[in-house]
C-alpha cells in the first residue's frame, strides 16, 4: 500500500529511527514482495539508465515533428564559452533538463520520473549534483527513494497525469520530488525534505497542460528547465531554514483540487492555450496522419 501522506513517511521514519529514504524502501519491499537488494539494484538500474541517457545525448537529433532537438547542445556551448549570470551548477542543471527532454522527444531511452514529459527534471538535478559534489552513487540512489516517496504521495492523493491535473501534476510533481531529493543530499532531514517539496510545488500550482499538436515537446521540454531550477532554488530556501506556511500535505491536496477545477480544455486536449495559437495550428496541420 502506497503512502498517502508525507506525514505517514515522516512519522514512520521518526518512530523507527530510520531515514526518510529507508521508509520508502521498506514500503517498496512489502508492496512488491522483494528483498532489500532487489529493490536497491532496481533503483541503481534507474540511476544508470538516466546517466547513460544523459551521456548519449546527441545534439544532431531532431524529433519526428522537427520541433525538438539541438537546444541542449546550444546550452552546453554557452556554458563552456561564456561567463554567465548563473554559476556552473545551475547552468548545467538547465542543460541536462533540456537534453533529457529532447532525447525523449527524439525516441531515445529515458526513465519516466514520474512521467515521460517530465523526465528531465530529477535527472538534471541529481546528475549535476553527482558531477559537482560527488556524494557517491549510494547517496544518489537514496535520494531517488526520497524523490519516489514524495512522488508516490502525490500520485496517490493528487495526480501525476497532465490529462487529469494539468502540467502542475507532471512538471510540478517532478519538481517537488527533485527538491526533496536535493534537500536530502544537502544534509536535510525530514523537515527540510518535505518543506523543500512544498515550497517548490507551491510555485507550480495551476500550471496547464496545453502542448502543441498534442506532442510532448512544446512547451514541455523547456518547462523541464523551470521544474529543475525551481527545485534547486527552493531546496536551498528549505536548507536555509525557510518553511512553508502551508503544511506540505495540504499543498498536495490543493494541487489535487486545482487540478480538478482546471477546465478540460487545458488538460492535454489541445483545445485551448498554447495549443490553439496560430503557430500551433500550422504545426498541427502539418503533422496529422490524415493522408492515410
Amino acid at each position: 500500500m502506497s503512502y498517502k501522506k508525507l506525514t505517514e513517511i515522516t512519522e514512520l521514519s521518526e518512530k523507527r529511527h530510520i531515514p526518510f529514504w529507508q521508509a520508502v524502501l521498506e514500503e517498496d519491499m512489502i508492496e512488491r514482495g522483494v528483498s532489500r537488494e532487489d529493490s536497491m539494484s532496481r533503483m541503481e538500474y534507474m540511476y544508470e539508465t538516466i546517466k547513460e541517457a544523459d551521456e548519449n545525448y546527441d545534439p544532431a537529433l531532431r524529433s519526428a515533428s522537427g520541433l525538438a532537438g539541438g537546444d541542449g547542445g546550444l546550452l552546453e556551448e554557452y556554458r563552456k564559452k561564456h561567463s554567465s549570470l548563473l554559476n556552473d551548477f545551475v547552468l548545467e542543471v538547465m542543460e541536462k533538463a533540456v537534453k533529457m527532454g529532447e532525447s525523449n522527444a527524439c525516441m531515445r531511452r529515458i526513465v519516466a520520473m514520474p512521467t515521460a514529459g517530465s523526465c528531465g527534471v530529477i535527472p538534471a538535478v541529481l546528475l549535476t549534483y553527482m558531477k559537482h559534489k560527488n556524494p557517491g552513487k549510494d547517496r544518489i540512489i537514496e535520494a531517488l527513494y526520497v524523490a519516489g516517496g514524495i512522488g508516490e504521495v502525490i500520485a496517490t492523493s493528487a495526480s501525476i497525469s497532465g490529462a487529469e491535473g494539468g502540467c502542475q501534476a507532471e512538471i510540478g510533481s517532478a519538481s517537488a520530488m527533485a527538491a526533496g531529493a536535493l534537500a536530502y543530499l544537502e544534509g536535510g532531514g525530514n523537515e527540510e525534505i518535505v518543506h523543500a517539496a512544498a515550497l517548490t510545488l507551491k510555485n507550480m500550482l495551476g500550471l496547464t497542460c496545453d502542448p502543441v499538436a498534442g506532442l510532448v515537446e512544446v512547451p514541455c521540454i523547456k518547462r523541464n528547465v523551470a521544474g529543475a531550477v525551481n527545485a534547486v532554488v527552493y531546496s536551498q530556501m528549505a536548507m536555509a531554514g525557510v518553511r512553508s506556511a502551508i503544511e506540505p500535505d495540504e499543498v498536495i491536496d490543493s494541487m489535487n483540487r486545482i487540478g480538478r477545477l482546471l477546465p478540460t480544455c487545458l488538460k492535454e486536449t489541445g483545445q485551448e492555450g498554447l495549443a490553439i495559437t496560430r503557430s500551433a495550428q500550422k504545426i498541427t496541420e502539418r503533422l496529422s496522419i490524415t493522408d492515410l
Binding site: 502506497s2 520508502v24 514500503e27 517498496d28 508492496e31 512488491r32 529493490s39 532496481r42 533503483m43 538500474y45 534507474m46 539508465t49 524529433s63 519526428a64 515533428s65 532525447s103 525523449n104 522527444a105 527524439c106 525516441m107 531515445r108 531511452r109 529515458i110 526513465v111 519516466a112 520520473m113 514520474p114 512521467t115 515521460a116 514529459g117 523526465c119 531517488l144 527513494y145 524523490a147 519516489g148 516517496g149 512522488g151 508516490e152 500520485a155 496517490t156 501525476i160 497525469s161 490529462a163 499538436a213 498534442g214 506532442l215 510532448v216 515537446e217 503533422l287 496529422s288 496522419i289 490524415t290 492515410l292
Partner: protein, 225 residues
Amino acid sequence: MNLFDIIGPVMVGPSSSHTAGAVKIGLAAGKLLGEKVVSAEILLYGSFLATGKGHGTDAALVAGLLGMKMDDENIPKSLEIAKERGLQIKFGKADLKDAHPNSVEMRLVGEHGRKLSIVGESIGGSLINIAKIDGLDANFSGDFPTLIIHNEDQPGHLAEVTGMLARSSINVATMQLYRASRGGEAVMVIECDQEVPEETLEWLQKADGITKVTYFSLKEPEETR
C-alpha cells in the same frame, strides 16, 4: 501503482500512452496471435490517428509486433526492421464507434495462416486494455496470463473450461463472459494467477463447441533488466 511506476518505467520516448503503451499493445497482439506475424493491417483511431506520427505511435505498434519491449532502442527503426523480416504492414484509419481516444485496430496474419483481429486501447501511463478480439468484447490488461475462448453459446462450455483449469491447478483471478447473440458466438475472457500449460490449451482447442482458443502468456518479462 508501486514505487517503480513513479521512478520508472524505463522506456523509449516520447509518450507513455502514445509510444510505450503502443509498444505494449503491439506486443500483446503478437503474443495473442501465437505465431510469427507476416502481415498486419494497422488501423488508427482518435488521438492515435491525429498525433500518432509525432509520437512515433506507428513505429511503436510495429516494434511490439516484432517482439520489442517498451525500452528497446530499436523502436524508432522498427518499420525498417519489419521490412527486412518480410513483415507486411499497411496503415489506415479505423472505423470504430465510441472507442477510447487512443485506440488501434490490428488485423494480423501469422506464418501458419492463423488470423486475429484486436482492438487495443492505451488508457494512460503505459497501461493498456485489449478491448476486442475478433470483433467480440474482451477487456483485459495483459497483467495476467489470459485465456480467451470463443465458443458456441450453449450450456456446459463454461463448466468444461473451468473444470479443466481446476484439474490443471490454475486459479481464476477474474472472468468475463460476452456473447454476440443468444445461442450464437460467445467469448470467455479468463485472467489466471498461473500460466496455462500447453497440454491444457491443446485439450481446450479440441473440446466440443469451442471454436477458438487464444492465449496471452506473461512468460517473457515486460521489462528487461
